[in-house]
Symmetry: C2
Subunit: 375 residues, 2 copies
């Protein structure tokens, strides 16, 4: 038995988990998931062993899809897919499927760690990847303005990341790419606020931030993008296979999808939809940015103010020793996961949907108190 205790004696439901990689789940979803491990209500079967060819499996996927369509007003000409492999597999599937032979030029924006990973994968698969804007020289501290990049009208698509998890950057609008399909990694912000899918050709998000538990990735793709997929794409990596089979091309990760079903029900029934969710998320972020702005640079925010993410609040302290102390003291108070991404260091407070405003308030007070004691 190698597993050891990692934190304090609080029950997991009383902890505030600010981790960036894997978020938390609403308490009601945890309770319902627990029940479903034994028996899906009224179904007499564990959600862990639902057969993928059963009507029950189809019903789970259909209701989850319908909930997403309701939450985001997704029209008929978009397909909603439940895939495996995380956002990282999308980094490969997008160029494999959508770098069509007649036009394999693709445009990418590099705004941080994750959009850069998407670029690296595209460069393995296409010799014509154009970086239309990069924030690297500015250490990924801001998102671009529309005047700073130019879309290649012949590009097969434009790819960007709307919300950089590592650096805590977020677009306020979206890049207007005209007729060129816009592809977006929304992993960090998906379902945190409303957005208009009609501006996009393809949107994807892995589940483990706002949607559920690791193991499933949501892909929303406009129907016309399926027309020109090359014939040498393996079936399992071809979007058309999954569209044709309603995400049951092979055995889907049914339990992970069931968690998404529970989360979408929670968003619809308990939280009152994405507009309300956004109001709460804005308030949560405002509390922490207030602590940063009032600190006279004791807390140094990484992002320029107009690129600040409401989902991942990233900042540093005057020394790495103080940062370690900050993280340690926060942990003893039940606030965990505050260490920054290994590529950047510092502090990161991720405020995914299930983080209650009490968590943000508690962290704000701790920040203020910590500053007074250590300034």
């Amino acid at each position: 038995m190698l597993i050891t205790q990692t934190t304090n004696n609080l029950n997991s439901l009383q902890l505030y988990n600010f981790a960036g990689g894997v978020g938390l789940l609403p308490e009601s979803v945890i309770r319902e998931a627990q029940q479903a491990v034994l028996n899906i209500p009224d179904c007499q079967i564990s959600a862990l062993v639902v057969n993928h060819r059963s009507q029950l499996c189809r019903d789970i996927l259909d209701e989850t899809e319908q909930n997403l369509r309701t939450l985001l007003s997704i029209p008929e000409n978009y397909h909603v897919l439940f895939l495996q492999g995380g956002a990282s597999l999308q980094f490969a599937m997008m160029p494999m499927n959508l770098c069509t032979k007649k036009n394999n030029a693709v445009d990418y924006m590099t705004t941080g760690y994750w959009s850069n990973k998407a670029v690296k994968e595209a460069e393995i698969l296409s010799k014509n990847v154009n970086i239309i804007w990069s924030g690297k020289d500015q250490h990924f501290t801001r998102m671009p303005n529309a005047s700073e990049y130019q879309i290649n009208p012949d590009a097969a698509y434009v790819h960007y990341c709307s919300c950089e998890t590592v650096e805590g950057l977020q677009f306020t609008g979206y890049p207007d790419t005209g007729k060129v399909p816009l592809l977006c990694d929304m992993s960090s912000e998906f379902l945190t606020k409303p957005f208009d899918i009609n501006n996009y050709g393809l949107v994807y998000a892995h589940a483990q931030k706002n949607i559920g538990a690791a193991g499933v990735t949501i892909v929303i793709i406009r129907d016309d993008l399926l027309q020109d997929i090359p014939h040498d794409v393996p079936e399992i990596l071809d979007y058309r296979s999954h569209v044709k089979m309603g995400s049951i091309y092979n055995t889907p990760p049914i339990f992970a999808i069931y968690i998404v079903l529970l989360v979408t029900r929670w968003l619809l029934n308990d939280m009152g939809g994405l507009h309300n969710m956004n109001v709460q998320n804005q308030a949560k972020a405002a509390l922490l940015y207030q602590a940063i702005d009032d600190s006279e640079d004791f807390y140094h925010g990484h992002a320029h103010k107009n690129s600040r993410s409401i989902i991942n609040v990233v900042f540093s302290l005057p020394s790495s020793d103080l940062e370690k102390q900050f993280i340690k003291e926060a942990e003893t108070l039940g606030m965990i996961g505050l260490d920054g991404h290994r590529s950047l260091g510092g502090i990161r407070a991720s405020l995914y949907n299930p983080m209650p405003i009490e968590g943000s308030l508690k962290l704000q007070k701790f920040m203020q108190d910590f500053q007074i004691r250590n300034q």
Copy 2:
């Protein structure tokens, strides 16, 4: 709420689930999984939200790997990986990684539905796929003898499926391919009996039959096969990425892996290892084949006797009406999932590890009784 009741009023733990696609789980694993949804014992965190960069995640993967190494005596020169995408993604990853440029000829055996799917995917990715044996003309009723196929000594690898889930066929030994690496889809039989990994270059199995719940696939690959992977393989699909990062190249499906951990503990501690497991599995299959052999062809076994699978017992009845009645009556008695694969029809009784011998005994008695009443 679209989900409706699918079966009778028995609790899921009292049902005998003979489904072929997704197997069942031991009752103790279900109970432990339920607990882990709330809190991993001694860890104060839900297994659904474990951060992939935490020591806890590393510990879960390490113990699961170590349990597999113990169960199968896997030596140091083999890597054990936990991937997403099912066996179907392996159908693509094998040729992408192992059809090396200097030698892209590959040998495949077509022995049923699933090995044929592997061939189709390989044919998209390689122009030099040789079918060294096919059972198609014999309607996939038997596995080949060693004298019936010839290995191309220049092939990059030989691929076969050791246990065909749909047709209920199983190899008794393994194809001796000499110096040519042998690749095997073991999804249906992995962990049902001991085998010598040293005969293989690569072995893979999705979890949802004997190892756990859908959402994770185990790949065991010999170190020397990593040497010649082409440079144009996307990182996420390159075995080396996952070896290098110990299966945490990106966020792994942690909850699905945690279920594998629980199942491997159950095999080691409760079942006494794979030799004992095999003895039980042989006995379970023998009960059903006895009912078939004693029936004077009322139950017609699909497989030739020397190719019979101890995991998936496939047979037909004199008419499809009788088959429907058989399935319906069995369901009312708590034996579910007995319908054959949609490509073959008939009856399929899958006897994955967690099926207790009582389930097999109950089905045997039902078969005998049904025959008397309907002959």
